[in-house]
């Protein structure tokens, strides 16, 4: 049954803050050395915003209020810092104690810049790389912070382009993989897209030590806004698009670097339509060759094989956006209605739990 936001809010206020499980009693374990908890930016039933962390039993471990809606975040390797970035245009990011949710820092963007919702750490947990924009000239940058010095800004790398969004670190430990959406916006003009005719989106590879761009890949069409990225353990680089052209056109929405260029994935027409020209997140599984992508606009999440492009799972999940990789080879997809759904290759999607929050885009 579909539940409207207001109905959901009423239900969640009445139901208190704990998960409702479906057929199991624990949230599945994440892959690798990630923390056991699930954290995400959330919309709260009363209209305010926060960052929420749930333990695997589905209980709220902590919930921290934030001034404005946040988007994504990252965990600091080897330390107990969990960071969340304000949604674009983000004027700050927050550093929380990963175990208690206590706010350790709130780092404001320097004058003339804003964050765009994403950041990633160096493997040793010292350097934080955050995508940002100098909004007057419309220049995309990577802002570098030293976590050892209470997140002091120490460097700025130029992207020679507009609208960077998600960035992640290649398993080589040195290359930043950056989605450059190509869309010009300005805080004075709300979120109006100012350059749809002249966009130049790109997938960018950058040396994180020197800031030098070592690879730049343009999608086939200039309106395939390259917003989200992921890298497999073997170093296969994936990018997901949000197509800015009309809905009746159905261009590919996912691609990976292969033989020095972007190889696009096109699925059957029904699946292409179900993705609504909009992918909110793409995640490569570290244990296999599977890739998951979620479209809140189309209310659909898919899993496909990286090598062959074969579609191996598809599920209708209203307002789905966040994706987490699970130990054993599956994915967990979160939705703006608080649902957590497990996706496995060749199997029907499984509802795991329902949490009383609106999960914002990305799970951390």
């Amino acid at each position: 049954m579909l539940i409207h936001r207001r109905t959901l809010i009423k239900a969640t206020v009445a139901g208190g803050m704990a998960a409702t499980f479906t057929g199991c009693s624990l949230l599945p374990r994440k892959t690798g050395p990630q923390p056991e908890r699930y954290a995400g930016a959330v919309g709260l039933p009363d209209g305010r915003f926060g960052v929420s962390a749930f333990d695997r039993s589905g209980n709220v471990q902590w919930q921290a209020p934030v001034d404005t809606r946040c988007h994504s975040g990252c965990n600091r390797p080897g330390r107990k810092d969990t960071l969340f970035f304000e949604r674009r245009p983000g004027w700050s990011f927050y550093v929380f104690d990963a175990e208690t949710g206590q706010r350790r820092h709130r780092i404001m963007a320097p004058e003339g810049e804003h964050f765009v919702g994403h950041g990633v750490f160096s493997p040793d947990g010292r350097w934080l790389y955050a995508t940002a924009s100098r909004y007057q000239p419309g220049e995309g940058i990577v802002a570098v912070y030293d976590a050892e010095q209470d997140y002091k800004r120490v460097d700025t790398f130029e992207l020679a382009g507009i609208g960077p969004h998600e960035l992640t670190l290649h398993p080589d430990g040195n290359t930043l993989v950056i989605g450059l959406g190509g869309i010009l916006t300005h805080p004075d003009y709300d979120r109006i897209k100012l350059n749809l005719d002249t966009m130049q989106p790109a997938l960018i590879l950058m040396d994180r030590r020197s800031g030098q761009i070592v690879g730049r890949f343009a999608p086939a069409h200039h309106q395939q806004s390259s917003r989200h990225v992921s890298v497999s353990t073997e170093g296969k680089v994936y990018v997901a698009y949000q197509y800015q052209g009309p809905l009746y056109e159905r261009p590919p929405l996912l691609a990976r670097i292969e033989d020095g260029q972007l190889r696009e994935y096109r699925f059957d027409p029904e699946t292409q339509a179900a993705l609504g020209n909009y992918i909110a997140s793409v995640v490569a599984h570290p244990e296999n060759d599977l890739i998951a992508a979620a479209s809140p606009v189309g209310g659909t999440a898919i899993v496909f094989r990286g090598k062959t492009g074969e579609l191996v799972a598809k599920a209708r999940i209203t307002d789905c956006a966040g994706i987490q990789t699970l130990a054993g080879g599956d994915f967990l997809v979160s939705s703006g209605q608080g649902r957590l759904v497990q996706l496995s290759a060749g199997q029907a999607a499984k509802d795991i739990a329902r949490l009383p929050v609106q999960w914002d885009h990305h799970l951390v």
């Binding site: 949604r87 969004h165 003009y189 209310g299 999960w359």
Partner: protein, 344 residues
């Protein structure tokens, strides 16, 4: 044929027939929407053309008669826009057309800042300058500022001052050109719109979003029902001309005329005739608040007695919003999500 097989075929046939009916009804709804919106866009094209002509006419021969006619032409065109403002997809998405017609909200008062800049330049303000000046310059709020801003119109740049006339003519010409282009593009868009199933939900969501903006940002917020609780008529649109509530009336009338028929078709196909009728009646209830609520919002905020007129309107709009955004949306399986409406 064995009974069980017969039953299977009979039920399969029923499923096929129902699915075909649904698909036909979806197409029928989209045909209704397309035709209705085309009418709305044609009206916008006509009214903005008349506004551009009225601006030139007044500036060439400013008389005490032609000034009210110019103000009326602005209002007529603005209300034509309000009636189709809910359409946030299709050709409207090209070049930020919607924002070009109405840059709002404008918390930094960019319209006034840009107007002062243009009025202060010595270089001619022509079509190219307007093209290059951004959405705050290109639509109704800018024309409204030039026509109605009290401070401007009590100074040396008051209409029919040459510079003001130059800017007003260029802006209204830009609007007329956009409106004509929009109506033509919408006509060309027809086949895509009819062939593309997801446009049903897109259209239904457009009306839902318009109602939410109407309820929350154009009424609740200025009325002080949200946030700090202070009444502030200046955060709604068209406050300079005092036409915020005329605009509300036109938005609701536009939804009733151009949106509701297709919605009713969809609801009735899903067996929701009773809900469709309740929605129809609620539109009438909203309309009944007028003409009493035609006053400027600032005027209605001056006393509690007058404020009650505004409250009555808000309650009726809010109920309409609940009927469509909660009940109809759920009945039709249309969901606007926390993430799907975010754009990141």
């Amino acid at each position: 044929m064995q009974p069980i097989t017969r039953l299977f075929f009979a039920s399969a046939l029923l499923v096929c027939t129902t699915a075909a009916l649904g698909a036909n009804a979806d197409t029928q709804a989209r045909e209704q929407w397309h035709g209705a919106i085309q009418n709305g866009y044609e009206s916008l094209a006509t009214k903005t053309e008349q506004l551009a002509s009225a601006a030139v006419g007044y500036c060439n021969a400013p008389t005490s008669d032609s000034r009210p006619a110019l103000n009326d032409a602005w209002l007529d065109a603005f209300l034509a826009w309000q009636r189709v403002r809910f359409v946030d997809f299709g050709p409207m998405e090209n070049n930020n057309l919607s924002w070009q017609f109405q840059f709002w909200p404008d918390p930094k008062n960019l319209v006034a800042r840009k107007a002062r800049y243009l009025l202060g330049t010595e270089a001619p303000v022509n079509a190219e300058v307007i093209n290059q000046s951004g959405v705050a310059v290109q639509g109704f709020p800018m024309a409204e500022y030039l026509l109605f801003d009290e401070q401007l119109n009590s100074g040396e740049n008051a209409l029919p001052a040459a510079k003001n006339c130059e800017v007003l003519s260029a802006v209204t010409r830009h609007m007329a050109r956009n409106a004509r282009g929009l109506a033509d593009s919408w006509a060309s868009f027809k086949q895509h719109y009819l062939d593309t199933g997801p446009y049903r939900d897109t259209t239904i969501k457009a009306g839902m979003t318009a109602l939410e903006i109407l309820e929350e940002r154009r009424l609740a917020q200025p009325m002080g029902l949200r946030g700090n609780g202070k009444r502030n008529p200046y955060i709604t649109d068209a406050w300079r001309s005092g036409q915020s509530l005329m605009a509300v009336e036109a938005t609701v009338a536009g939804l009733e005329k151009f949106y509701l028929p297709g919605l009713i078709t969809s609801l009735k196909t899903d067996g929701e005739t009773e809900l469709a009728e309740r929605i129809q009646r609620q539109f009438e209830k909203v309309a009944d608040n007028f003409p009493e609520a035609h006053a400027a919002m600032a005027t209605l905020m001056e006393s509690d007695e007058r404020f009650r007129i505004l409250q009555g309107l808000f309650v009726d709009v809010s109920q309409l919003s609940t009927l469509i955004n909660d009940e109809a949306a759920v009945a039709l399986g249309v969901v606007r999500g926390f993430n799907s409406s975010d754009g990141d």
